[in-house]
């Protein structure tokens, strides 16, 4: 019972952390890696640091129509 509660708590923490990261424009890194490995196995995969920088630059890229912060 407690183990199940623990697992559930861990899941909630994970979802909260993912949400917080996506709120600032950083999608889930493991998802990205899985995607690259599944669909582009012959191509290089960015490290987390590269991934982070790429996403950070993309969030503020000029001309992508990324509006935020409602009036």
């Amino acid at each position: 019972m407690t183990e199940m509660a623990m697992a559930r708590a861990r899941l909630v923490c994970e979802v909260v952390a993912k949400t917080a990261r996506l709120m600032v424009g950083i999608p889930d890194y493991p998802t990205y890696v899985t995607h690259r490995q599944t669909f582009h196995p012959d191509q290089p995969v960015m490290t987390y640091e590269e991934f982070f920088r790429e996403r950070q630059a993309a969030r503020y890229a000029i001309g992508k129509g990324r509006f935020r912060g409602c009036c």
Binding site: T19, L22, V24, P27, T34, R53, Y60, F67, C70, C71
Partner: protein, 688 residues
Amino acid sequence: MTLQAKLMWAGLAVLGAIAFGIVALSRGEPVNAAWLVIASACIYFIAYRFYALYIVGKVFAIDRTRQTPAYRHNDGLDYVPTNRYVLFGHHFAAIAGAGPLVGPVLAAQMGYLPGTLWILAGAVFAGAVQDMTVLFLSTRRDGRSLGDMIRSEMGPAAGAIAGIGVLLICVIILAVLALVVVKALVGSPWGTFAVFATIPIALLMGIYVRFLRPGRIGEMSAIGAVLLLLALIYGRTVSETPALAAWFNLPGDMLALLIIGYGFVASVLPVWLLLAPRDYLSTFLKVGTILLLAIGIIVVRPDMQMSAVTRFIDGTGPVWAGSVFPFLFITIACGAVSGWHSLISSGTTPKMIENEDQICFIGYGGMLTESFVAMMAIISASVIHPGVYFAMNSSAGLIGTDPAQAAQVITGWGFAVTPDMLTQIARDVGETSIMSRTGGAPTLAVGMASILSEFLGGRVLMGIWYHFAILFEALFILTTVDAGTRVCRFMIQDLVGNVVPAFKATESWANNIIGSALSCALWGYFLYQGVIDPLGGIWTLWPLFGTANQMLAAIALTLCTVVLFKMKRQRYAWVTVVPTAWLVVCTVTAGLQKVFSPDPAVGFVSHARLLGDAVAAGKVQAPAKSLAEMNRIIFNDYVDATLAALFVAIVVATVVYGLITSWKALGNPKITAIEVGGAGVLAGGSND
């Protein structure tokens, strides 16, 4: 539906009706804010279950088997199928901003009831419908932007007109938001110090997350939050040490120039250094504070001091001019319906939706949550004493700068208040004066401080809570200013680039600097004029901002209507036609009144004429102090009148294009909506 479910929904409806009855009908006795919370929660649940699900099922006829762009273009980066709760958080963080916090505070001058009704009805029938429909349209078009969709569905001319509208709204939003910050920080060393401290903190965080511990957002944000808290606490020492306070006790025009300069620097610096870390900090602070305020209101359950309806329902209020129709519906834009959201619903969110059946939860649900934020803002503004509310939100031109005089004027309006109350509340929050702190943010901060201090810390901590609220608003407003300046720069480059093609190259440093300077000059002009405006700036600019925002909503809803016609679902088009018609009527009436109203408090032109006559007679008319100042006000009146007229023209032109396109679609027996990626429903869709 099972009997049990039916009973539950009936119970919810009865509970909501009772709560609403208590809110609307009790006279003389203060109403507890809890009733307002219960009434709105019941309405949100019922609207979601019976209206939003009806729209997605019957009107959109969503297709659960249809691949969303997140799957079709899955790249693990921009297009990623995302858990709906995670995506909901992302979407909400992107739409929530200063709008739903400021508008309702200003609207409280008419009492809390008119604003409350509009926030609820507007969100349920207009705002949430707009957000969800645009999200649906964009999801079926590879996550294209609003401008792109207008171009492809309504033609390039309509697209170009909408583009100009978006640029104008961007300029006005940046100016008004920066004005809110200036008004909150004028003569407040504590607040100014805390806000300035965020710059070195952000630089430190930026370097930390790029070089020291790359990509560790959690650690970085924790460090930033601790430093921010220290700056907040140390701010009191700064304000109490005259030698230090002198550095941060700045007049409004100085603050305005600093913010314009800051906006320029922040938009040309590399984003990782200043913009991104501040964005992270402000996003987390924003969401955290909104949650905290919700908990505070539920735990404390404060009584509403403001009456349900005040005498200013007649349009003679000191916070903004104009009667309930159309100006209440302009003053509360975000929180009820906000055109800005249509840009976000067609931004990153549609690229991450897993399935079309989640559009309702994210689009409609996200807006209902935002609407609840607006309810909290109106509650916060209503729990403080009405006399204090009017002292904070009336310009010095109306109530003077002396507490005794202000108390007399406000008591004369029928809101009994003593000079002691005005000075005491200023002392409580650690300021020298709280009078004429227009712009909503300080009022909200006092309301939040009184709610939060009641369950965390008591009166001793009221100053900390007040400045915490100011800091939280200033931080995310300034982040919007940096990011908005960059967006604005791009739009200017795009627009000017049509004439001077070399200007379109966004990699060029020269272009970036010229573009940023132009963009800062545009919003900076309105900001500076607002700051030195003897009428208080907010009085003049907020209605313009509201009109611009509702204009964009009218454009977005027109697009939604046109597409429903092109999908041959005109039988159900009333769900977007009704809010479109309402917004068009509101924006056009408000715009025309701002230009032509013979009442100088409302009409820009008649105000300019009034002052012009005085100048011709060589008289200086209060609140202006010199003839030069009067000439400046006259010039600005004509600038503002031109803008208001432009907004009306944009709305009317869009509606005309909308009518023509809908008429054509009606005559065509085939589906003409240009969707991407469906099987069999395509009509001329291109797959780029």
